[in-house]
């Protein structure tokens, strides 16, 4: 059996900012369990001494001259925005109730599920 519980999936959905109905959570829990059970075999072959590969080809950092290139006008950048005002993206309230004490940018505890 899989170690993934419905509560886990609920937490993951919160982290991923996807609102899910009860039925979706049920279905996702069982599907995720099957998938994870099948892919976790990778651990068998991943020995201690094997170096990880994050990228198919060796990469080096890329630098360029610090010059101004093409930039979009505010109008172009906002053309597909769901909402805008005064040449800016308009965003719903970013602080929910009870968050007021948290200084902006400070790390938040994740354990509130």
């Amino acid at each position: 059996m899989s170690e993934i519980s419905r509560a886990d999936v609920e937490h993951l959905a919160t982290l991923a900012h996807i609102a899910m109905t009860d039925a979706e959570l049920e279905k996702m829990t069982s599907e995720l369990g099957v998938i994870v059970d099948s892919v976790k075999r990778v651990q068998e072959a991943a020995g201690e001494d094997v170096p990880p590969t994050s990228h198919p080809l060796p990469l080096t950092n890329v630098f360029r001259e610090d010059t101004v290139g093409h930039v979009f006008t505010a109008e172009e950048a906002l053309a597909s925005a769901p909402d805008s005002q005064d040449s800016r993206f308009k965003v719903p309230a970013i602080l929910s109730e009870g968050d007021d004490a948290v200084p902006s940018g400070a790390p938040q505890e994740e354990g509130e599920r």
Binding site: A16, H17, I18, V36, A45, V50, P56, P82, P92, I94
Partner: protein, 515 residues
Amino acid sequence: MALTTDALIRLTAAEMAAKLRTGEITSVELTQAHLDRIAAVDDTIHAFLHVAADEALETAASVDALRAAGGAEAESLHPLAGVPIAIKDLIVTKGQPTTAGSKMLKGWMSPYDATVVEKVRAARMPILGKTNLDEFAMGSSTEHSAYGPTRNPWDITRIPGGSGGGSAAAVAAFEAPLALGTDTGGSIRQPGAVTGTVGTKPTYGGVSRYGAIAMASSLDQIGPVARTVEDAALLHEVIAGYDKKDSTSLSETEYPEGKIPTFSSAASTKTAAGLRIGVIKQLQGEGYQSGVLARFHEALDQLRQAGAEIVEVDCPSFDYALGAYYLIMPSEASSNLARYDGVRYGTRVVPEEGPLTIERVMGATRAAGFGEEVKRRIILGTYALSAGYYDAYYGSAQKIRTLIQQDFDAAFEQADVLISPTSPTVAFPLWEKLDDPLAMYLNDIATIPANLAGIPGISVPGGLSEGLPVGIQFLAPAKEDARVYHAAGALEQLLNDTYDAPLWAQIPALEEVTR
């Protein structure tokens, strides 16, 4: 004698280009023939999400005018100028909507062109429109498109493969001679296999990914879709090359530009003599349909008789490739898709009740904007990357990636190219696997290793099983894309000689199937 519309659309891209250059046909005529074909069959096939008739005809007219005027400008036209093309709707285009097959981007207009689109425009190839795909390229059947599935022109009750089922079906159904696709785990090659077309996944970094909507950035690659190996090579030459806007693009020193024009000449070699071909032990047998294996073994026999040396190579880590892929890809996708937050572009859904905070708007937006498979992969990726599981899952998968690269390195000591069936099955009926994600994932079992290792691969038609196309895959070492064109061109020629015609000439007439 003027060619009929029907004859025009059945030419290869290379033949179209030649007739355009000699003035036997015009680009407007050719483009209109394809637009007519789209109008006639696309209600049934549903390969296109957007058709750009006016823009395509405008480009075509500009090519015709330049050719008619003659002189230096006509001389400097790209060899494929005037040959129409379709673009997978994962690749952004200015002036045409880009949806990624998702409700999240319904009606979104990109303010810029992908680099490959710029190159296609510079070559003056008329863009017919944008092709259907599984949402955000996640799937192997095009059933996960928010705009409905594409149907396989060989049998409209079956899937055209995915995620690039729209591009493959458009080319198979003569709605376009060429198309662009993207391949993260097989999304160019597997649709190629099940629609009897040719599709190439180039070396990672060999074609700019700037403007390809990201799924898994260490795996994604743009490539060509065509009906012949030569046509695929010609289109690959249009889009290849370094791009400073893509920091994972291979530089001139890493991948000399001089190698690019060799693709089409390699495709035209058409000889298997002296080629060392490695049969991958792990990519055959259990799970592969007997009809697929029968065509595969016939291909091996043909290549052997034509003078190729066939050897068996052992790649034991491939048994773990699917598992590693379904950890790495969702992990990268969960991060890439975090950008769809309902703020800067795309859909915003406001919850009907409760406080209007950004968190709740994001939750509602992503709940409504993403389909089931996308949600599944985001949640899976979020899980694989979460504290406590990272080493066991993502970390282990990265180690498998190393082992797979080592297996390929050893295999390419023994062989110039490797060969396998592209897909374990022929096209399956629509809806058959939609509720079984694991069964769906198995479609890509033979194509995934190339993405994990960043090497080039091609799928070329290998005949029919039960009246449906079977694909043969060739793989080559990184930056040796020319080799897959050489091998695939040789096999294509052998099979054309055997069957006395290209496979796609056998496709049922859609008018008969559908009306």
